[in-house]
Amino acid sequence: MTALIQFRLAGFLRTGRAMAPALAGLLTLAVLYGGGRAQPAEAYGVSAVVLFPVLAWQTKILLDVEPDVQRRLALVAVGPARERAAGLLAAAAAGLGLVAVALVFPWLVGGVVGPTHPGDRSIPVGLALGLWAHLLALPGAVALGALASRAVTRSAGYGVAVLAFGAVLVLVLGRTGSVVPWLAPPVLPTARALAGALSGPAALSLTGWALAWAAVALAGYARARHRRA
């Protein structure tokens, strides 16, 4: 399966199509950090929110770059379960690349500052919380991108609709006072939690929420692929 993950990552990175989400990610980060200086944890929380749709889009592109017949060849070679897992893991690996950029970027452009007031979080804590926020956004974004991929939606227009609808849903359902917040991955709640004091139980529940949401969405992906196989 490692070989298939490498093959798909190579196929993604060698086409120009890998450039589009990378540029979109950089542009988003540039806009985000262009305004001024912020505390790292707080800034990273917002960064994870704005990168969520970019990560989902990147996943869709990675999965769609491979021709349908090549995907079937991979399926014959490794079987359906590993074929699907390899695609998701390749997308997660590509996503981790973008997450690394997102963690480093604000320090390069001076978008964040170290602790200035007593009670501010230290830089390592800020970085760790930032990594956590992005890692919480990644599984949900990969799952959304997979649900929007051609193997599931079959048509390009429908795929883009799923992607856009999912991204908007995350923002709408994630607002404060939302009636059904758990229908969306906890990207906005995580950002809000990082802006204030974050308790251990709250962090744990956010982690559980993000993983559970991704698990349900990925089960939907597996089911959709199974029915369309």
């Binding site: 060698r14 086409t15 017949v69 079937r72 014959v76």
Partner: protein
């Protein structure tokens, strides 16, 4: 391998492409799938290969290693011929060394040598089809599924297809071939499955058309003579292998010079 009462439709409300197809192909057996365009030959082959899942019915006894040669090789990929085939071998479960060795062997055999460093999108249709053949054979398949394998191939490569089929059969594998142009006269002894109207009808080979593959060792000096005599006797020569050729994984136990006849 059995396809038992297999039904298939592509969409929930779509028309049935296959309705209750039941066929079987055993080790060392080949079957040719005949039928008009769009009748469901590719569908049947893809079910056998494991690409498609039957809507109803089941497939049993599919060998672990399946080689599938699609009707059109997907050449729109950012890899060179060598890079693609090595990756395909690795995906099929070969180690790096095994994959390199298998790629060298099949690149030579299929005449892909000059294209080793050429990118897939730049290949002609026939050359791309050879890459499709090679990827299915890197790991010796227990089931080889060929969808219109003669399409786009030049004369030399066309002759190669029956030879490759013979080798998989000799190794105890099964082979399924679809064909709409009657090229299958080159596969004597194969079962014939005709797809029409959603069902598959089988015409089993009669006793005297069933064949076996015999490997024999012949002194190098008398190869031409022996080949001529075997041909005169009505046997079909699959290939002649020299002394220097390494005994391949698929056909062990060869003498100094051997000849495969059937």
């Amino acid at each position: 391998m059995w396809l038992e009462d297999v039904w298939l439709r592509y969409h929930r409300r779509g028309p049935w492409v296959l309705r209750g197809a039941t066929v079987c192909v055993g080790p060392g057996e080949a079957a040719v799938v005949l039928g008009r365009n769009g009748v469901g030959k590719s569908t049947l082959l893809q079910i056998a290969a494991g690409v498609l899942r039957p809507s109803r019915g089941r497939v049993t006894g599919r060998p672990t290693v399946v080689g599938w040669v699609p009707e059109r090789f997907p050449a729109d990929q950012p890899f060179t011929v060598g890079g693609y085939l090595t990756a395909a071998g690795r995906v099929a479960g070969l180690s790096r060394a095994e994959a390199d060795q298998a790629v060298r062997r099949w690149v030579d055999r299929l005449g892909l040598g000059p294209f080793h460093a050429v990118r897939l999108p730049q290949l002609s249709k026939g050359t791309a089809q050879k890459v499709g053949l090679a990827q299915a054979l890197l790991r010796p398949p227990g089931l080889l599924v060929l969808d219109e394998p003669w399409e786009g191939l030049d004369a030399g490569a066309r002759e190669l297809v029956p030879e490759l089929v013979g080798e998989v059969l000799a190794d105890g594998g099964s082979v399924l071939v679809s064909d709409h142009r009657g090229e299958t006269v080159r596969l004597p002894g194969a079962r014939e499955w005709t797809v029409a109207d959603g069902s598959v009808l089988e015409r089993a080979p009669s006793g005297d058309t069933a064949v076996a593959v015999v490997e024999l060792a012949v002194p190098a000096a008398r190869v031409a003579d022996a080949v001529a005599r075997l041909r005169a006797d009505g046997h079909h020569i699959l290939r002649v292998r020299g002394h220097s050729d390494p005994p391949t994984a698929t056909r062990p136990g060869a003498g100094p010079t051997s000849e495969v006849a059937r």
